[in-house]
Structure formats: structure tokens, C-alpha cells
């Protein structure tokens, strides 16, 4: 049973509400975050780059929290982003989604082991952003989990 991610985001991060972010759980348990064009539009009638970066930042944060939750470590973790970078590939003309990519098993185990031992660990997360089945942007980021 996963968290109600949308409620969690809306209650804690008002910008996610302004962006009208919604969350869907996909087949393997990962979370797809989606946002509509209207509240995220720019001067060119396409999606504002800041909205893309922000949706990806949220998606990576959700994935880091979800992986800690799965390992039974999520309740004690506070997760912050340390570095994030976005490559903008195509203009985005309608609703867009962000999905974190699966972790390499070794990287995930190293992250969880280090968090358990030291209460401090860093995870690199890659996020793809899509619009109408087209890859429109790539995001990669480092998140740090600290024992709260």
C-alpha cells in the first residue's frame, strides 16, 4: 500500500497544487506525476521550463521516498535535493508527465545500506518527461536522505 502521493504533495508543497499535479501508480509500483498545460504555460503557449524542472524534482523526490518506504526506512527519512539538471528537448504543447527511471539494483542496495548504517545517503535519480508518448525532457538529480 503506497502513500496518497497527491495528497502528500498538495498538503506539503503548495506549488504542486498551483501546478495541478496528479499522481498515478504504474505497473511496477513507480509513480507517474502529470500536470496540465494551463497553469504551467509560458509566453509561447508551451509548457514553461520551470514547470518541467519542478515536476521532475517532485518525481525524483517521490521515487526516493517510495524506495525508502519499500525498505521500511521511509518514516525516519528526510529527503532533500542536492543537485538537479534538466535537458529540454522539445517544446511541450499539452499535459506532460514525469517518471523516475528504475534504479540499478547495486546502486539502490548501496543507498539503502548506507542510510541504515549512517543515517545519511545519496541517491542519483533519472527522470524522463513525456508528452503524448514523446520524450520532451530529461532530468537527473542527486537526493540526500537524512535520518530525521
Amino acid at each position: 500500500m503506497q502513500k496518497d502521493w497527491q495528497a502528500l504533495l498538495y498538503n506539503n508543497i503548495p506549488l504542486s497544487r498551483a501546478m495541478q499535479v496528479s499522481a498515478q501508480i504504474i505497473d511496477d509500483g513507480r509513480v507517474r506525476l502529470t500536470a496540465p498545460l494551463a497553469p504551467n504555460v509560458n509566453d509561447k503557449g508551451t509548457v514553461f521550463g520551470g514547470s518541467l524542472a519542478t515536476l521532475a524534482t517532485l518525481a525524483g523526490w517521490v521515487e526516493t521516498q517510495r524506495l525508502l518506504d519499500l525498505a521500511g526506512l521511509g518514516a525516519e527519512a528526510e529527503i532533500v535535493i542536492q543537485h538537479g539538471e534538466t535537458d529540454y528537448l522539445l517544446p511541450v504543447r499539452s499535459a506532460f508527465s514525469a517518471i523516475s527511471q528504475p534504479q540499478e539494483p547495486e546502486a539502490l542496495q548501496r543507498f539503502l545500506r548506507q542510510f541504515e548504517r549512517r543515517g545519511l545517503a545519496r541517491l542519483a535519480v533519472k527522470v524522463e518527461m513525456v508528452c503524448e508518448d514523446e520524450l520532451v525532457a530529461r532530468f537527473q538529480a542527486d537526493y540526500v536522505a537524512k535520518r530525521g
Copy 2:
């Protein structure tokens, strides 16, 4: 006489309004964008990383537009971000600002010359984010200006 940047942002990018972004022109003509904590808060009571990246993305866009305006080329330019990356240095506990750093004269001249000749040019912009006079994050991005 500069543009009314706040009005320009509010009328074209609704997320800037949700974030309550304001604009001040500083001594050398550059623009400082500022946003308060409340609409940009996260689950930890500090500023959400997505808000920091977004304010910086706006600041870099404003600076690129301003530099084209100064050269008399702004009216014909459409500016998009191609790559942006943020390093988060410190938690941010109150209102925060983003200021683009001055361009190297040679880089600026190359950008303007290329835009004039080809109608397509790329500018690298560095943005510093501060809170209560402390550097809290760094952002660097590439913006592409196209003749509209």
C-alpha cells in the same frame, strides 16, 4: 526604460504569479527576482527546490531578454531554455532572490552578433540565489534566442 518585468511574467507565466515573484531593478540595470516563503514552502518548512530552480529559470530568461532589449534586438527574439542546472547549497528559511551574474563582454558580443547574423544564438547565464545575504543556491543555464 526597462520592461515592467513583473507584469510581463504575471501575464505570460501563471506559475510566477502562484509563486508571488516580484522584480526589482538593481544599480547596473540587472533584475533581481524575489519570492516569499509561504507559496514556495516544502514539507520541511523551507523553500522547495523546484521553486528555487524556477525562480532562477525566470531570472536567466529575464536577463537574456534584457540584454537583447539593450541591443535593440529584443522585440524580434523568442527565448527558450535548453539546459538548466541547480546546485542547492543551504536550506532556505525565508524570502529568496535570484540575480543573473554579469556576462563576460566577449561572450555577450558573440551572442548578439550571432543573433543578428543568423537569427539563432545561445547564451550561457549564471544565476545566484540568496537569502538574507547568504548564497543558498547556484544555477547555470543555456538559453537560445530565435528570431520570432
